[in-house]
């Protein structure tokens, strides 16, 4: 009889769950993780990672198309949609296997199936439809002193635009197309919608993005929103803001979408549509109602150490509320088990969680936007620096972009940083580290940034905020 009693049991093996399991094991807890479908969860299998693989193919294709700009010749450039998808799936498979290895290495028991909580300390796992990996424990009753819910989120479904998975896709279908549709409607302009819009546009689709709010990329700084919109429109993406899709009429191989834009109502006919109107927490079938675990608008209510209102039950990641990002889930999980262990872990500061969108141009940000800082009535200094003033950007052939920083005028605290342009997703963590160490403009100005790099723009933006910009 396999062991069925644990110190920590985690439900869901996404980036939050599996990292939490490793940390729990490091802390000496006897740890188990329950998964019903894929080790690594959505992130590794149907989210962050496979989309990055798709976007990489699109990026290289884009470079091939512009070989001449670099003095190169590339004739008969094309793509094989099946090959692009196959590569993306192979990348996911490799990482999925990697999580299995990490669980084994850290002596975390994998339990295969659907978990529900009967009572604090008691979990029942029912067999799931998918095949269990080798060595996994099966359905049965399990006990654990501490239960951590890390069940993640799923695509939100809005009435009238329900995905049918054939003509109207969610991100699942959008990730494995058998061909690239001639025309595509993207409903929602958050990170998921914009990344698919960018991917399909680069591969030649006629892409239309519809956003109900006044700006695309609603969480980003206004300057970045405006800059990104111009770039996308220049690439040929049609963008409608303050617009709403009210109906999707599914034909045999196309969709007629009814769009209300102000007073106007019009119909857009496309081959395929993607519903990317956000995600909602997976809080169902866990037994939460029976246990009296508090939830609010589809997510579980937790305190700063991710405890729910029921002792012994914790929740981390998407299911415990926004921002719904893999790196937020990972860090929450670590803080959560460290708190269980009694270590003096600091709760996460949600203002310092960076966000990245891997469209072309890339977008990355952390902290307060200019509009948020003004709403808080903060006295601020803003610095900006365009890619066009950076030697490395010009050498790369990527001279379109912007770095923007926001400081508290009085204290010099870095309140926020916002970037659009090539490789900014790899740059943002410089500002994130700075914010976490509570640096002021002075230390940033005293820091030597290597030349020639895109990162020099980060210093220039700081200098600009204090009227000392050099290269523009």
């Amino acid at each position: 009889m396999a062991d069925s009693s644990f110190d920590v049991l985690i439900i869901g093996s996404g980036p939050g769950g599996y990292v939490t399991a490793i940390r729990a094991s490091q802390l000496g807890f006897k740890t188990a993780i329950v998964e019903r479908d894929y080790l690594g969860g959505i992130c590794l299998n149907w989210g962050c990672i496979p989309t990055k693989a798709l976007l990489r193919s699109a990026e290289i294709f884009h470079y091939f198309q512009h070989a001449k700009d670099y003095g190169l010749k590339a004739n008969n450039v094309g793509y094989d949609a099946k090959g692009v998808v196959a590569r993306s799936r192979a990348v996911s498979k490799r990482l999925n296997d990697g999580v299995g290895f990490l669980m084994k290495k850290n002596k975390v028991s994998v339990i295969w199936g659907e978990a529900s909580i009967d009572a604090p300390g008691k979990v029942t796992v029912k067999a799931s439809k998918s095949d269990a990996p080798k060595g996994a424990l099966g359905a049965g009753s399990y006990r654990a002193k501490h239960i951590i819910i890390a069940t993640g989120a799923r695509p939100r479904v809005l009435p009238g635009i329900e995905p049918d998975k054939k003509l109207v896709w969610t991100y699942f279908e959008a990730m494995v197309p058998d061909r690239v549709p001639k025309s595509l409607l993207v409903i929602g302009s958050g990170a998921i919608g914009i990344e698919f819009a960018s991917f399909y546009r680069t591969l030649g689709s006629e892409v239309t993005v519809v956003e109900v709010l006044p700006q695309i990329l609603p969480v980003e700084d206004h300057d970045i929103q405006v800059f990104a919109r111009k770039s996308f429109e220049k690439q040929g993406i049609k963008i409608h803001t303050n617009a709403k899709i009210t109906k999707l009429d599914k034909k045999s191989d196309s969709v007629a979408a009814t769009m209300e834009e102000g007073e106007k109502t019009q119909t857009i006919t496309v081959e395929r549509a993607i519903s990317a109107v956000g995600v909602i927490g997976n809080i169902e079938n866990l037994g939460l109602e029976k246990l009296g675990v508090k939830t609010d608008r589809g997510t579980i209510v937790v305190d700063e150490y991710n405890k729910t209102n029921v002792p012994g039950i914790h929740a981390i990641g998407d299911v415990s509320g926004p921002p719904m990002l893999a790196h937020k889930a990972e860090h929450e999980g670590v803080v959560c088990v460290e708190a269980i262990k009694g270590l003096h872990s600091h709760p996460m500061n949600k203002l310092m969680i960076p966000g990245c969108t891997y469209c072309s141009p890339q977008i990355a940000s952390v902290g307060l936007t200019e509009q948020a800082a003004k709403e808080k009535k903060l006295d601020i200094r803003v610095g900006r620096f365009p890619f066009i003033g950076n030697g490395k950007a010009i050498a790369l052939g990527e001279d379109q972009g912007l770095v923007k920083v926001i400081f508290d005028k009085k204290t010099g605290q870095l309140l926020g940083a916002h970037m659009v342009g090539a490789e900014v997703t790899e740059l943002i963590q410089g500002y994130v580290v700075a914010m976490n160490l509570e640096t002021t403009e002075e230390e940033l100005m005293h820091t030597v940034f290597p030349h020639p790099t895109l990162s020099e723009m980060m210093k220039e933006a700081v200098l600009d905020a204090y009227g000392r910009v050099l290269n523009i």
Binding site: D7, G28, K30, Q413, L437, E438, T439, E442
Partner: protein
């Protein structure tokens, strides 16, 4: 899962402790609340109670071990139904952390109220380390800027960031006077002070074999560190006053004679002169509230109560248990409380909260026949009253020579917080009260 039993932090500033005695053996069943060990801190020996049920699987740190760092594993407890042997063997990989490894940094034990700090001035015992080393206060740039703007000194600010780093929120707290430490040795001062002679230099002055080396215990080290810090950082001045305690002596005899006797024939109380001194100082501080203060960089703490520390001599050291709110207590209550505190102090059984803090102190050497002396202020207090012997002296009254019982008292004041005239006011109030003990009762 087996539970690690850790060296407890018995006071907020304790860095290490000694395992004085194990009261349980390996294999003993333990219930939560059982006393499993005695831990010796800087000034006291405290009982360590188990907080979980189980079996003592393994004693990792044997009794008598000194300087065990706080939070290092001292024993392993197997939970109910757990394999004791497995729990014991799991403990083997983790040797206890000896706090002495950090000797160069922190030779002295943490004083009860002055806090451990990475930037302590280098101890005089280490020759190679320059005195300026380790003066850095770890703080974030934003915290430094916020502190500068709010005119807050970083020295007393308690850091809540990683490794005690001072971060922005600590400054926000400090603005409202929270999260401040008691004054410790100011780094700048530490740098300016010439190091004392090294151990080797001292020993070289004496012939080998002409002395015996007595190792310091925690109490000795704490006294050395705290009083060095006091004298180096507090500008002391002294004021002496003669008090006629004739009426006090008479009143004391009368009161003691009137004490009701219990069943065992013992009187319910027996007041000492020192009990009157405690009460008189407590009331005097209430009458001169500006002298009932503690110095901090961000402002004076003006205390509402008179918490009077009383120096109790012990073999090899001393400790000052505190009579809290002494102004509100009757003489008999003070007397009985002091008797209990002193008895437990001699057994080193006081808890940290019984000897930390206080707003002033009394040090009485009258019983040794000392006429008058000066005492070193016990931070964070601002005053200490040194009491000499009550003795018959010739005095002149209205041009006539007369005999009177006189007690000389000397007040030491922290000049940062108290000026000469204010100190004089306090000691004059004290004199009025001690010479007219009836007024204390009002």
């Amino acid at each position: 899962m087996p539970t690690n039993i850790l060296m407890p932090a018995l006071s907020p500033t304790m860095e290490k402790g000694n395992v004085a005695r194990w009261l349980k053996k390996e294999g003993d069943k333990i219930k939560s609340g059982d006393v499993i060990a005695e831990i010796e801190t800087d000034k006291a020996t405290m009982e360590y109670e188990a907080i979980e049920d189980g079996t003592l699987a393994k004693i990792v740190v044997p009794e008598g071990t000194q300087d065990v760092a706080v939070n290092s594993v001292i024993a392993v407890l197997a939970g109910e139904g757990e394999d004791v042997k497995a729990a014991a063997s799991a403990a083997k990989g983790a040797p206890p952390q000896k706090a002495t490894e950090k000797k160069a940094e922190t030779v002295a034990a943490a004083p009860p109220s002055a806090a451990p700090r990475p930037q302590k001035p280098s101890p005089p015992t280490v020759e190679a380390v320059p005195a300026t080393r380790g003066n850095r206060i770890f703080s974030s740039p934003l915290a430094r800027r916020l502190a500068k703007e709010a005119n807050i000194d970083l020295n007393p600010v308690q850091g809540s960031g990683p490794h005690g780093r001072i971060i922005a929120r600590d400054i926000e707290r400090a603005k409202s006077g929270k999260g401040l430490r008691a004054p410790s040795i100011a780094p700048a001062l530490g740098a300016a002070i010439a190091p004392a002679m090294s151990d080797a230099q001292v020993r070289a002055l004496f012939e080998d074999g002409s002395y015996e080396l007595i190792p310091h215990d925690n109490m000795r080290r704490t006294i050395a560190q705290r009083l060095t810090a006091s004298v180096q950082t507090i500008p002391h001045f002294y004021e002496t006053m003669d008090c006629d305690i004739g009426r006090l002596t008479a009143a004391r005899e009368e009161i003691n004679a009137a004490a009701p006797k219990g069943k065992d024939g013992k009187p319910a109380y027996k007041l000492s002169v020192n009990d009157f001194v405690i009460k008189a100082l407590a009331v005097a501080l209430q009458r001169v509230p500006d002298a009932n203060v503690s110095w901090t960089e961000s402002g004076l703490l003006k205390h509402k109560h008179s918490d009077i520390g009383v120096a109790v001599a012990l073999p090899g050291g001393l400790i000052t248990p505190i009579v809290r709110h002494a102004e509100t207590k009757s003489l008999s209550a003070i007397s009985n409380e002091m008797r209990d505190l002193a008895a437990r102090a001699r057994e080193r059984k006081l808890k940290p909260h019984e000897y930390q803090g206080g707003t002033s102190s009394v040090s009485n050497l009258g019983m040794y026949g000392i006429k008058d002396f000066t005492a070193v202020i016990n931070p964070p207090q601002s005053t200490i009253l040194a009491i000499g012997a009550g003795e018959e002296r010739a005095v002149v009254r209205n041009g006539q020579l007369a005999a009177a019982t006189i007690m000389s008292v000397t007040l030491s004041c922290d000049h940062r917080a108290i000026d000469g005239a204010l100190g004089a006011e306090l000691i004059r109030e004290f004199k009025t009260l001690i010479e007219n003990p009836v007024m204390m009762v009002v």
